[in-house]
Amino acid sequence: MIPLFVFSVYLFLYVPIIVLVLFSFNSKSFPSPWEGFTLHWYKELFESKDLWASFTTSLTVSTLSTLLSLFMGVCFIYYLSRKQKGENLVPLFYSNLIVPELVLAIGLVSYFSLFQVPLGFQTLLIAHTVLGLGFAIPILFVRFKELPPSLVEASLILGAGPTKTFFKITLPLLKPALLASGLLIFVISFDDFLFSYFCAGTSVETLSLYLISSIRFGISPVVNALSTILLFLTIPLALLFFSSKKGTEVF
């Protein structure tokens, strides 16, 4: 009974994806049934300039916001490693997950317009980095608390200063958490729609914005081809996430 139930849940998860991938090779565009195999839509995909421009924008924003939030996260952990009292400040970052994204996006838009900051790439980056911090700091903090204190003590006793200890002992031990949270932030930022929709203005188009306009425009097998490629690009990323030891523990 239960295995059957679980099997149907998997079916529910994968039927749309399989149908999507299959129809990216169909020589006639949807709603016509299967006609024959073609790679035409992939060719068209690689020739579409708008798509690649939006893809590059998304890639840049996600990479930069991931690096920024990880950098600030590591700096913050360095502070915690020096000052015990700093731990009282950690809950300040939990609220990023509690406040709905929509509310924060609207808040940021009105904030930017008050200070007359034009919406564009920089505002998008700021918004995504706020989102990233909400993941980076709690995840890094949990891993930091789990580290055996004896290692740090040993390093201090053997004569390394606190800063050297941080770079030689704490930071290398935090690597799996850095990798897991970095990948998670990247994916969430790459996937994000709400912040792109409100904070990007009219000059910048992310992949999500491009996709929603092409979906509204109507079904085109080019989008299928794109999904197939993105799907296969995610698999190595997800594998990396898993290899970073208990990546799922971040939840």
């Binding site: 239960i2 295995p3 679980v6 998997y10 529910f12 998860l13 039927v15 749309p16 994806i17 149908v19 999507l20 949807f30 709603p31 049934p33 950098f71 600030m72 996260g73 700096c75 913050f76 952990i77 360095y78 502070y79 915690l80 020096r82 300040l92 970052f93 609220s95 509690i98 709905p100 929509l102 509310v103 924060l104 609207i106 808040g107 940021l108 838009v109 009105s110 904030y111 008050l114 700021i126 980095t129 706020v130 911090l133 700091i137 729609f193 409100f198 999500s208 996709l211 979906i215 079904i219 989008v223 999904s227 995610t234 698999i235 997800a238 996430f241 898993f242 208990k246 799922t248 939840f251």
Partner: protein, 306 residues
């Protein structure tokens, strides 16, 4: 050492030597504060400002004129409250359905998965890692009038005419569950992974039935994870507006679509902000009630035992 240094610390600016020491002592804070500055500047400040500006009146050139309740008066209509209620309902049903699907899924992967455990979990995460707009798009293929599901149902003679699945509340709910399922499954899974299965054996050995074991042993341990999953689904599902808009056509109004209409309009932005504040407040209030409710439910389910 500390006791000698203390009196000098009380007068830190009296001598340059102490200033230097103070700087050295507080340097880690200087390094670590970037995250705090960012958080205050781009998280707390916008939220506080939004709260203030929802009560404020501004002149056309942008300067502050005084406090007012007029923005809120314009949204104190039954229709708007119904929109908020619909969004809360959508979030709640999505959370409940994902729990119903995600719990057996996580349970099977974690305790029955064996060798394939990681692979099965991997399969759950893959859809979560590709752009969700593509999944909406994929469901179009399945639900369309000439789509996969209709063809399947026609072929098996379960129906004689294709059904309109798109632009119904069914399509909206289906897509919401599809997208939010991993958010529920993963916390429960990671909690089950730490769970010691010998506890189940111990409980059965001591004469408890399967149901009793589940109720008295498994459920109390999993309750925090279920709670996490519930709110990881409930809160973002409340503000979701792409899924309802694309799957439901313009037929269904949720908080997200109302807010975006207000904000995108030239003069209605203050009303949009007020509406965001109101719906955010109602979401927080209902989350709080639900949060308390889960504890009561927990006590009732487990019969008061921990």
């Amino acid at each position: 050492m500390e006791t000698i240094a203390l009196p000098q610390d009380l007068i830190p600016f009296s001598r340059p030597k102490n200033l230097k020491r103070l700087l050295k002592k507080e340097a880690p804070f200087g390094v670590g504060s970037s995250a705090l500055v960012w958080q205050f500047l781009f998280f707390y400040a916008p939220l506080v400002l939004m709260l203030i500006s929802s009560f404020s009146r501004f002149h056309i050139d942008g300067h502050f004129e005084g406090f007012t309740l007029s923005h809120f008066k314009q949204i104190l209509k039954l229709d708007y409250f119904l929109v908020i209620f619909e969004s809360l309902k959508l979030g709640f049903t999505t959370a409940c359905i994902t729990l119903f699907l995600g719990f057996p899924l996580a349970y099977t992967i974690a305790l029955k998965g064996g060798r394939f455990k990681n692979f099965l979990l991997f399969l759950v995460i893959i859809p979560f890692w590709t752009n969700f707009l593509l999944h909406i798009y994929a469901w179009f293929f399945v639900l369309e009038k000439g789509g996969f599901l209709n063809q399947l149902l026609l072929m098996t003679h379960l129906i004689n005419e294709p059904i309109h699945f798109l632009n119904t509340s069914f399509a909206v709910q289906l897509m919401m569950v599809y997208y939010y399922l991993p958010f529920m499954t993963l916390p429960i899974y990671s909690s089950l992974e730490k769970f010691d299965p010998t506890l189940i054996e111990a409980s059965m050995d001591l004469g408890a039935t399967k149901f009793q074991t589940f109720r008295r042993v498994v459920l109390p341990v999993l309750m925090p994870a279920i709670r996490t999953g519930f709110f990881l689904v409930f809160i973002p599902a409340f503000g979701e507006f792409v899924i309802p808009e694309l799957m439901g056509g313009d037929k269904f109004m949720y908080v997200g679509s109302v807010v975006s209409q207000f904000i995108m309009g030239e003069k209605t932005a203050p009303i949009g902000i007020a509406f965001t504040v109101l719906s955010g407040a109602l979401l927080m209030a209902s989350s709080f009630i639900l949060y308390k409710g889960t504890f009561a439910l927990n006590r009732w389910l487990t019969g008061g035992h921990r």
